[in-house]
Every structure is written in C-alpha cells, then in structure tokens.
Symmetry: none
Subunit: 534 residues, 2 copies
C-alpha cells in the first residue's frame, strides 16, 4: 500500500500565543520559527497580521526558508466587500505564502456572534477563499466549533466545509474549538465530512480539554484527514493544543499511522526531537515537563524496583522505543534500592570512569544508600552525585574551604517608623591558604548567603561569573519540630545554557541550603576547569 | 439500555510511588487514602507489603472505610509452594481485603526474567489466585506486558488471562507496562481477550508514554473492560499512569462512556474533583498543573482575544462543560457572583456570622482575591482565613504585638574544633502595654523563632501551653532569585487534638514563616478564649 503524504501545520505562534502567561516578541517568534524549520513542519502559522503590532511586524517580511509561511485571519464580514474589509486585506497584503481564515461553522454562533444569516456566512467563506487564491496565496479555512456545530446542525456544518472546498480552499480544517469532543465522535464526524470533502483536503485542530488532543488528532488521521495542526510542547489556550512533539513520533513510529501516512520528516530526523522540545522551553524560560512523552527527562527513567535490573540486561523489552531514536536518554535512577549495575550505568552516563572490580565502587554504593536514607535525593541532583562519585573514585579538589558563615534576619522599625525585614550574611572562605571574607544583603537568609559566597572566591571568581540560580525547592521530609529539610537547587551557566541540580539535607534549612549552594559552585568550577584542560 | 457498573482501581500508592522524586511516608499514605475515599474510588492499592518497611507498616492494619483495601505482590516463584514463598505470604497475611498479584504474560519475559517454563508460569498464576481466594481475599492478576506479549505470542498471553480467570480471579488486568500501545491496537486486542474472559472481569492499566493513557483506557472501556486503573493527577513511572482525575469526568460526562457505564461516583460528586486534585499536589508539595484537563487553573480560562467577550455573553457555548460541575472556575469574568456565594458558604462553615448585604463582605472578597493573587492559599489555611474574616467582619484582638525579632544561623568551630551550625532567635512582644523579650536556640531559624515567640506571652501563656507544630511546608511560587515563598504551618492542640493551618507569604522565607507562626498562636488564643466565654 502506498503511503499518503500528511502535512504538519504548526500554530505555536498563533493559537499557542493564546496560552495564559505567554506573550511572544518578534525576536522570539523568529527564534521559534527557526526551531520549527529545524523540526521540519510543513506550515508555520505565524500569527494574525493586523491584530497587534507584533504580528503585523512579524508578517512584514517572509520569515521561513522551507515551511509555508501562513497568516491567520477572520473571514470577511457580512455586508462588506473583500476590498472594504481591512482585516481580510491585512492578511492578503502580508508577506505570507498562505492564509488560514477562521470561519463560523456552528449556526448558533453565526446568529449570536456574527449576527448575520447562514447564507451570508457561506458567502463570506467563499469570497474570502477566492480572494486569497486571487492574491496568489494558498487558502485554508479553519472551521471554528466544527464538531459542536455538526452535533447541533450537521447540514449547516457540512455546507460550510463544502463551500470552502468548492471555492478553492487547499485545506478545510475541522476545529474542536471547545476541546470537548472524544475520539469515537471524531471518527464518526470525520467520516461524514469525507462524503463532501476529500480527506486529502481536510485538516484537524484539537484541544486537550479532555486529555485527548493527540488521540483525537490520530483518530482523524485514521479516518482520512491529511493535515494535522498542533503546537510545540502542546502549548495553547486552557489545557493546550495537540502536542506536535508527541504527534510526530507517534505517526512515524507507531501502527497503524506509520503504515498509512508519510511526513516531510523522516524517522532519522527524530534524533533532534528532545533538543527541540527543550530549546522551546528555554525560549519560554520555563522548566521542561520531565514526564512528557518521548522527550521528558523521565520518559525513559526507571526507579529501582521490579524493573530496573531487567532493563539494564534487556532494555529493548522494557522500553516502547529506544530513547536514542528521539534524542533522549535511558536513566536508571540512583535510589536507595539501587544495585551496583545501576550505579555503574549512571557513572558511565555521567562520564565518570569506574571499574566494577574496584572496591571503591562498592564503598560509593554503600555511601549513596546511607545518604539517601538520610534524605539526600541523588536521582534529582546529578551534579551533587557526580561530585560525590568523582571524590570517591578519583580526586576532585574542593577548590575552597568555608571556614565559617553566619546569616541573620531581623525585623525592626526603620527611620520612617515602618516595619522592615532585613537579611544579611557573612561568609569566610579559604582559597589556597588565603582568606576571603564577604558580606551581602538578600531577600532572605539563603539569598544573602548565596550572594556573599559567590562575591569573592579569589582565583576561581572568573570561573563562576556566569553561574546563576534558577530554582530553589524545599521539602520537609518528616513532620514535627525536629524535621529534616531537603533543599534542591537548580543552577545554570548563563553563557552555555547548561543546567545542573544539587542537593543538601539537614535539620537546619539554612545548613541544607548552604550545602546545595556549595555543591553548585564547586560543580561549576569543576566543569569550567574540565573544559580548560580538555 | 442498562448501564454496566465500572470499577475504579486507584494505584497512586503503588505504581504512583514509582514516580521519580516521590517517596511516600506512612502518614502521607494515610492522608492520600483519605483523599481517595473522598473521591470515591472502589479499590485502593496501597503498596507492596514486604517490599519495604513503609509498605509493610501501612498494611499492618486496614486503612480504608469504604474502598476495597488492596495489596500488590508478585505471583509465586516457580519451584516453590505457596507456603514457602515469603513474598506471596506477606501479601496474604497483610490486612488487605484484596490482592493484586503481577504475573508475566509475555513468554519472552517468562524465559529471561523468571527463567522458568511457560507452563510453570501458568501454574504460578493459578496457585497464587487460589491461595488468595482461600485466604478470603478477592483476587486480581495484573498481566504485565500484556499487549506486547500478545503481539509476540497471542496464544500464550491469552492463556495467562484465561488461567487467572478460571482459577477464580475477580479481575484480570491487561497492563500496557511499556506504554507503547495505541487505541486502535487496544481495541483490537481487548476484543480478542473477550473471547476467553468476560469484559466484566477485565481491567485495563495504561501508561502515558505516547500521550494516550486516558485514551487507551477509554478505548478499552468501549471494547468492554469494566475495571480501570489509574492514579491521582496521573503520577507514575516515566510519563505517568492514566490520570484518574481526567478519566472520571470523561466517563461520567461524555458520550459514549456515560451511556455505557455507571461508576460508584455520581455526577454531583464531581464538584469535589478540583479540590481533591489540588490537595494531592499539596501533599506532594508541588505546584498544580495549570493546564490539567477539568481541574487546572487555566482549564476554563480565556485570554482576552477573539473568544473572551463572547464567553461573557454565552459561556455555555464556549465551554465544553460548566466549570462548577467539577468544582473549577471560569477565569474571564472581572467580578463573579459565584465568588461571593462561595465566600458566604465558607464563612458559614467556619461559624463566622455574615450578612450578604453587608458591604464589608464585598471588601473581604476583594481583599481575599488580592491576597491570593499575591500567593496566599486560603483554601489550604483555614485558620488564617478565619482570623482575616473575623477581623474584617467583627473584631478579634491581636492579643500581642511583635515589636521586633531577629534570628541568625552561624556555622563555626566549637571548642572541640568541630564545625557546628547554631540557630538563635530573639523576639520582643508587647502584651497590654508590657514588653516581653525572649531568646531561644533551635534546629533552624524558624524553629528558634517559634520557640522564642511562644516562650512568654504574659497573661496568654497558659492558653498556648498545649500548642504544638505538626508540619511545615515551603513552596517557592516562582523561580529565580526574587522568588516569592509561601509557608504553610499545621498546628495542633495536644490536649484536644484539634488541628489548624496557617499561611504566610513573603520574598523572605523567614518572614513568611513568622507570619504563619503568629497566625497560629493568635488562632490558638482566640479558640481558647472562645471556649472560656462559651
């Protein structure tokens, strides 16, 4: 059977921009366009020219090399001509190769939102499609509320789709705007639409309000639809859009999809998938979802338990795909149940040489178990684990010794009679026999300690210039007053973008935080030295 | 058509405990069991007695009121009798009502992992099921790798299912252990299994490695399966398990599921869903997923744009379900009446008199919204909320005024040359014009502050004699260095056993903690006074 070509339509920059808390600048849109081209989607919907200055500027020139550059707009208003509708004109006059105009396809919305007749709406659809074709741009129609509209008035919903197709639309896209439709209904309704528009001209646009954006999209593909819309990492309004990063490997690697369709992306291109997904989160300045299908840091991670030792022996039978295929990695988490083979595997991943016959490996394993019993969580703190392992198996200098520190928080009245809370810290360190003493104020005792620790580390100061703290997590491991506190710190090198995690555990929250801070700084120096000597 | 009963099997405490970074204590397992009973699941799988001390202790007594308390284990090893298999015995001798033993159903794993013959494995399945039934416990078999096993050797996979059923298993559960199966295959394979085991005895256990855990589960339900396994908020190994919080409303509210099956939970019980989901995240001490289907803070949020004004006019046509149905809220409205009626309900529940026509109620509502926007979480801090409400609507004295405090942590060498970390705090309070100054040492700055604050409150000292802190939780609300910290403190009266929660929010963790401490002490005095004057 010959496979049919399926087209990927990315709407990260348009529907994804509806995500609460996300606002793209023109520069960010350009960076995301580069990522999408690297991914290899067929269409990039860049926004809605005329709707806001960012989108208008973004569409002032062509922004894609390979993908079809697409502008979103609304179909012509009833009672005006195409040439008198400034919204339609902005899209037509933009630098886009293609247009995707949204049209109402639920008669109720035609009445209450457009306040025109059903016939006038069909006329708007036809006129807008023709105007796009006449302007030399590929024409698409997003049928808004298509599934709900079909359930309310199937004839009218079908008439909208048919009108768009017959007027010359390359794609008629069925949108589950409210996100409430489920796969069985999607299959049924797509089958009905295919009586009036061929599948090779139909698209699907799904939302995740019932957790089915990806499943609905694939159900539509099996039914015959040949364009799928989605966003990077599934961003989008409310619960998000269909996640392109999940859709693509599902269609390339899984049956029945891989037997039905072929994409512009090949299986071997998938090795970029994890990096692209994480780079997108970098642009959004947020942590990546560790549980994301295919690309999450935990997607191929197993906690020691009934599976871990078997995975090391026969990874292929415990993983649905090899992680390298999507550029991800296997991780058998070091935990209190870890065996020696898990530990060796982890050391190998981190690039720490270890010989399984070396008795120091056994001592390291015993120490890790002991520390995890105390509350250290090395599975979440790679950098602390790597430092510990290198210290025990090779030698890593401490670089600096903290002779003492003190930090205080004081609430008092200031000169204006206002109550203020002030935090200050003093840290005394020794580097190569020389003592450095620094003081800093901060938002709290830990912030003050961090600032004073990193203020002057003598000859190492230049190596930590780009170190910055990204996140700080506190967990009380057991209740009551003698609670043990675990602190996890995420740090990054501002220049290289590399991130690492460190851990500290103590009855004293400040002490636990300080341990994690010191590990982070030492790791940063170690990695900088390693680069220099490499 | 009569609906068939479908059973919910929750494995948050067993498979959910495989999530990286999650380790439940016995107390946490008890708290989560309470939440699951509130949700109304039919089975609670509490863990694996014998595998670790936590689970063994958890199963030392019956922990459920309504749900069937279920223990996980592994089927008997080949070559031993049931009575000589300590793993099987630990489960049989636990306080569980039901057992769920995992069995290999992929012949390849029988060979490489169990190293026994296919026939021996079938014998283990039959013997283990019979032993459970003989011990008076409902028996279930989790068929591990069922779908992959079926694809490799359908006859053997079916033989495992059939053997379990014929030996007396109430449920034979088809597990997609590696998570790589998709809905079309699930449908096909479940149909085949139903030739040997009735759907009313089949369960489904799905993982989210392709983003289809919920979709696969529902595909199996449509095919005829009548038990579904899942976890709260979809926690679990790798990408997680099927999300119970998404599955339940899908099955109760959406076609075709709601026409096929009925649950132990009714549609009207769903109003608790959002609160249960968020309470679980509180126990995990993590932020809730704002994009989660049904219960996410953004699940019914619309950003100003093409839909927002239309939603204000006709919310029903822009939302797939009314958010109140699942205890969630629409987030577009500037002021909503539901907010005020919720507030009045909450005041009534706490016994605070309020008149809905009183303008102070509106001012309180505005203040609560403002404070929640800053990060206060009043739904998790009843005592802080009650104090605030009573201050605004009636009058509650402050009892004492904190004039100043200071706390410090110092790490230094002691007289023996050892490094020690010492925390100390000084608090100055005024009670009825009299000043009391106290100092104390503690495990950390907050513990020291707590001890010195409660050391001498003059005439109120006797009223707080039985106050004790139970738990202390810290959450960083946004990353980076200028992070906002929220502290939740749980306190109790040692004598009466009454517990209460207070909250504090600040850029400074010590400041946030002190706010919550002061609220807790004031609440304790208020309640003691109330009792005396009652």
């Amino acid at each position: 059977m010959t496979k049919e070509r399926l087209y990927l339509f990315d709407t990260t920059l348009r529907d994804g921009a509806q995500t609460s808390g996300i606002d793209f600048s023109v520069d960010e849109k350009i960076a995301i366009t580069d990522l999408l081209e690297r991914l290899g989607v067929d269409y990039i919907e860049g926004g809605y020219p005329g709707a806001n200055p960012t989108d208008t500027k973004f569409f002032s020139e062509k922004r894609t090399q390979k993908a079809i550059f697409t502008a979103f707009g609304m179909t012509k208003r009833a009672g005006r001509s195409i040439s008198n509708d400034p919204g339609v004109q902005m899209v037509l006059q933009s630098a886009a190769d293609a247009t995707c105009y949204v049209a109402k396809s639920w008669d109720y919305h035609v009445d209450i939102a457009l306040k025109c007749t059903n016939e006038e709406n069909l006329e708007s659809i036809a006129d807008t499609v023709k105007a796009s074709v006449d302007a030399g741009k590929e024409a698409m129609i997003d049928c808004e509320h298509f599934f709900d509209g079909y359930k309310a008035n199937p004839d009218y919903a079908l008439a909208c789709a048919k009108t768009a197709y017959e007027a010359g639309a390359r794609w008629v896209v069925l949108c589950d705007t409210n996100g409430g439709t489920l796969p069985h209904e999607v299959t049924e309704i797509v089958n009905a639409v295919m009586q009036v528009v061929p599948g090779s001209n139909l698209g699907i646009h799904a939302h995740d309000d019932t957790g089915h954006a990806v499943a609905n999209t694939l159900a539509a593909v099996v039914a015959g639809v040949r364009q799928v819309q989605g966003t990077l990492n599934g961003i989008g309004e409310r619960c998000g859009n269909a996640n392109m990063i999940t859709l693509i490997p599902n269609m390339l690697l899984k049956k029945p999809y891989c037997d039905l369709v072929e994409l512009g992306i090949k299986v071997e291109d998938l090795t970029e998938l994890t990096a692209i997904s994480r780079s997108f989160d970098e642009i959004l300045n947020r942590s990546s979802n560790v549980h994301a299908p295919y690309v999450g840091a935990n997607a191929f991670a197993t906690k020691a338990g009934i599976h871990a030792s078997a995975i090391l022996k026969n990874p292929d039978t415990y993983e649905h795909i090899p992680p390298e295929m999507v550029g991800n990695q296997r991780r058998v988490l070091v935990s209190d149940q870890a065996g020696k083979s898990n530990l060796l595997n982890e050391l190998k991943r981190l690039g720490v040489d270890a010989d399984k016959a070396d008795p120091r490996v056994d001592r390291l394993l015993a120490e890790v178990k002991e520390l995890e019993a105390q509350g250290f969580a090395y599975e979440a703190a790679d950098a602390s684990f790597e430092l510990l392992a290198r210290r025990r198996l090779h030698s890593v200098p401490d670089y600096f010794d903290v002779l003492s520190f003190r930090t205080g928080v004081e609430r008092r009245y200031n000169a204006l009679g206002e109550r203020v809370t002030v935090s200050e810290a003093v840290v005394k360190v020794e580097v190569d026999g020389e003592t450095f003493m620094s003081v800093a104020e901060g938002n709290g005792p830990v912030n003050a300690l961090d600032l004073s620790l990193r203020k002057d580390l003598g000859k190492y100061q230049s190596l930590i210039a780009d170190l910055e703290l990204i996140d700080y997590k506190v967990r009380i491991l057991n209740g009551g007053t003698s609670a043990i506190t675990r602190v996890l710190i995420e740090s990054q090198n501002k220049k290289t973008g590399k991130r690492w995690f460190t851990v500290g555990v103590s009855e004293n929250i400040v002490d636990a935080s300080f341990q994690a801070l010191v590990d982070s700084v030492r790791y940063c120096i170690f990695k900088a030295n390693e680069l220099e000597t490499a």
